[in-house]
Amino acid sequence: MAKQIIKERRLQDDAWKVVNLVDGEAPFDVCLPVGPLLVPVAVWKAKKACLIHREYEHGTPLGIWLAPEDDLAEIAADIDDFTVIAVHFPKLADGRGYSTGRLLRERHGYDGELRAFGDIGRDQIFFLNRVGFDAFVIGEGKSAEEALAAFDDFPESYQGDAVQPLPLFRRRAA
């Protein structure tokens, strides 16, 4: 069965592969499999020319994945190159990725696919969606079908966010 991802509020097949650096492996030595790839920042920086070449020659779209501690300044100039930016949530309790999402959308104006992957499930989707994520790879052992219901957990929110920039008080007054 193909890997599944939640996009446009439904389950879809997903062809993207996540490239990881194994311990001690130099970013430049990583072997890049065929097909669309989500590479770590270090690999992007080391093999940028090669990756761009793959896109130019073979139409393979560009993707990157960010760890919670990654500094967006390092990729700021390249952000529009990516078809997919994925943000990793290594632990449910690590909420740095929520800020990453908003910064990518609101500060860097990124408008491609922004996907969350890692330790996320139904109970994180609503907020993840609000901070700008529009694709979700549900963590292992969790139900992706059930997660689909989470988009409508709340009918209204007080704050503005990456989807609805106006806070409630600006809409309430109208």
């Binding site: 909420g95 929520y98 800020s99 109970d123 609503f126 007080y158 704050q159 008080f169 007054a173």
Partner: protein, 560 residues
């Protein structure tokens, strides 16, 4: 007070449904303990010694009579007929059943009550001054700002998985009655030279294992920018606060590590991107919220009610209660009444359903139907006409709410401690009871005068022991309960962290030690000098000698 509109209702109702689903999935085994933990904590639900404890919010300490009756009803139907008011405007129920929590929340929601973000690594219940709106030293009423912050922080999508809990307090008066300097963010309402409202912003205060006072990171933040600036500040914390060590994860550690100037610089840098954005507050929104905190319809009264004055002359017990439990009001002929939850024989801050209902009745008849919860764990009727004080006193006495000891040793602050709390190292309640008993004699208490005694059952410091003139901290030594005493802590505008006097005491020795400290104070005090003032004047050494009568013990103590 703030009343919900359809939007507010819809949000709270949705939370009830969401939590019902989460609870059902947990009970069905679809959510693991680890997955459910942050979800239940963000809804105030702890797993405690006796089962779950549910912490309900009293946003910025203000509650209506109908809401207090709802608490009483919930405590009676779902718990054992009482609840515990905490130092942060919350009510804790200690004996609820997990499967019934969604029903409790549904009941509470009918009266605009909830348990949202009363725990967990998120932005907690915003707290403020229990005399807001009635204090003569008020610059501006902090409650509209607290409500604006409540809405902003409620289900903030970016800040629900912070490195650690995050507490905000706001004071609108010259004297800080909200302990803002020991909060992650403390906001002091100020006016600039042009008379415009703004905030002095403190960050990085907190108690716990590493008690620190907040540092001023901005002298004047114009009110329009309250939310954008706060958002920038919390974002810096979310991204850069430590996540590798839970004891080092509070914002105070980040502020300390970066230094005040660098932290402030990072916040300002983040803020430049948010400043002027859609979260910038509008005059219309501030006016909408402020209107809901309009002063009640006060009568025009004489500054001194003659009947009241004669009761004061004729009834010594009443006069004693007034001296301690009745506070000045900015409107002539009115007063604020503290209903004490420090009755002998009951845990500090505990109120039975009957007491909550009695307080609700009093509020409805004599105080415009509103009650405040103070961080000293008492209830307050903020707007009582002087002429009614005598009646209020009689009724409060009948309900066990009139211990004339506000500000005295019997008014001590204590967390629930090891009797209830799973985090505690030691029990607080038996020690609190033993101290209250030791000083039971009212004349003795009044002679000792104002004394803040605060007690926590562990380093988490829910009882704010660092801020007590006398602080008591429960510690675990090889499985036995011991108690460490600190002296010289202060809350308020001159907030200060207390100093450890030495080696910890066994439970049975704590009342003796406290009595020896107080004897030292009585022996050294000048006329009208409070314990804390005497301490400041003569220093800790006299008290150390008093606390450890055997010299070799005190030397050991000093050596650690």
């Amino acid at each position: 007070m703030y009343r919900y509109d359809d939007h507010d209702h819809a949000i709270v109702q949705a939370r009830v449904a969401q939590f019902r689903g989460q609870t059902e999935r947990y009970l069905a085994g679809e959510l693991s303990d680890d997955e459910f933990r942050p979800l239940r904590l963000q809804n105030g639900l702890y797993i405690q010694r006796h089962g779950p404890m549910l912490r309900l919010a009293v946003p910025y300490g203000l509650i209506s009579a109908a809401q207090l009756r709802r608490f009483a009803d919930v405590a009676r139907r779902f718990d054992r007929g009482y609840g515990h008011f905490t130092t942060r405007h919350n009510l804790q129920l200690n004996w609820v059943k997990l499967a019934e929590v969604p029903d409790i929340l549904a009941d509470l929601a009918r009266d605009e009550l909830h348990a949202i973000q009363t725990s967990g690594n998120c932005i907690r219940n915003v707290t403020t001054d229990h005399f807001a709106g009635i204090a003569a030293d008020e610059i501006a009423d902090p409650r509209p700002w607290a409500e604006i912050l409540r809405q902003w922080s409620t289900f903030h999508p970016e800040f629900s998985y912070l490195p650690r809990k995050f507490k905000v307090a706001i004071s609108g008066a010259t004297e800080d009655r909200a302990a803002i300097q020991v909060h992650d963010i403390g906001l002091q309402v100020v006016r600039n030279d042009a008379g415009e409202i703004g905030f002095k912003v403190y960050a990085g205060g907190g108690l716990g294992r590493t008690p620190l006072l907040g540092q001023v990171i901005r002298e004047f933040l114009p009110w329009q920018h309250l939310l954008t600036y706060t958002e920038a500040l919390v974002r810096v914390f979310n991204r850069h606060g430590r996540r590798d060590n839970t004891y080092k994860a509070r914002i105070k550690i980040l502020v300390k590590a970066l230094g005040r100037e660098e932290f402030s610089r990072q916040v300002e840098a983040e803020w430049t991107n948010l400043q002027g954005g859609p979260a910038t507050l509008t005059q219309a929104e501030v006016a909408r919220v402020t209107a809901q905190f309009a002063a009640p319809a006060y009568e025009t009264l004489a500054a001194d009610d003659l009947c009241h004055l004669s009761h004061l002359r004729e009834d010594k017990a009443f006069a004693c209660w007034v001296a301690r439990n009745v506070q000045a009001h900015k409107i002539a002929g009115y007063a604020a009444v503290t209903l004490s939850l420090k009755k002998l024989g009951a845990a500090p801050g505990d109120a039975s359903s009957e007491q909550m209902e009695a307080a609700a009745d009093l509020a409805e008849r004599y105080s415009f139907g509103e009650i405040r919860v103070s961080h000293e764990q008492n209830l307050i009727l903020a707007d009582v006409p002087q002429r009614e004080l005598y009646t209020v006193w009689h009724r409060a006495k009948a309900a066990g709410l009139a211990s004339p000891t506000v500000g005295l040793i019997q008014d001590l602050i204590a967390c629930p401690g090891g009797d209830f709390c799973a985090l505690a190292n030691a029990r607080s309640l038996p020690i609190a009871a033993a101290i209250q008993e030791r000083f039971e004699d009212l004349d003795y208490q009044h002679d000792i005068g104002e004394l803040e005694l605060n007690m926590s059952g562990c380093m988490n410091s829910c009882g704010h022991h660092h801020l007590g003139a006398i602080g008591i901290l429960g510690v675990d030594k090889n499985g036995a309960e011991w108690y460490q005493i600190t002296l010289g802590g202060r809350q308020g505008s001159e907030a200060r962290i207390g100093e450890v006097i030495g080696r910890a005491f066994a439970a049975a020795d704590v009342p003796d030690a406290v009595e020896r400290l107080i004897a030292a104070y009585l022996a050294h005090r000048h006329a009208d000098e409070r314990f804390i003032d005497t301490f400041d004047r003569i220093g800790i050494l006299v008290f150390q000698h008093a606390a450890y009568p055997h010299p070799h013990q005190s030397r050991r103590a000093v050596n650690g």
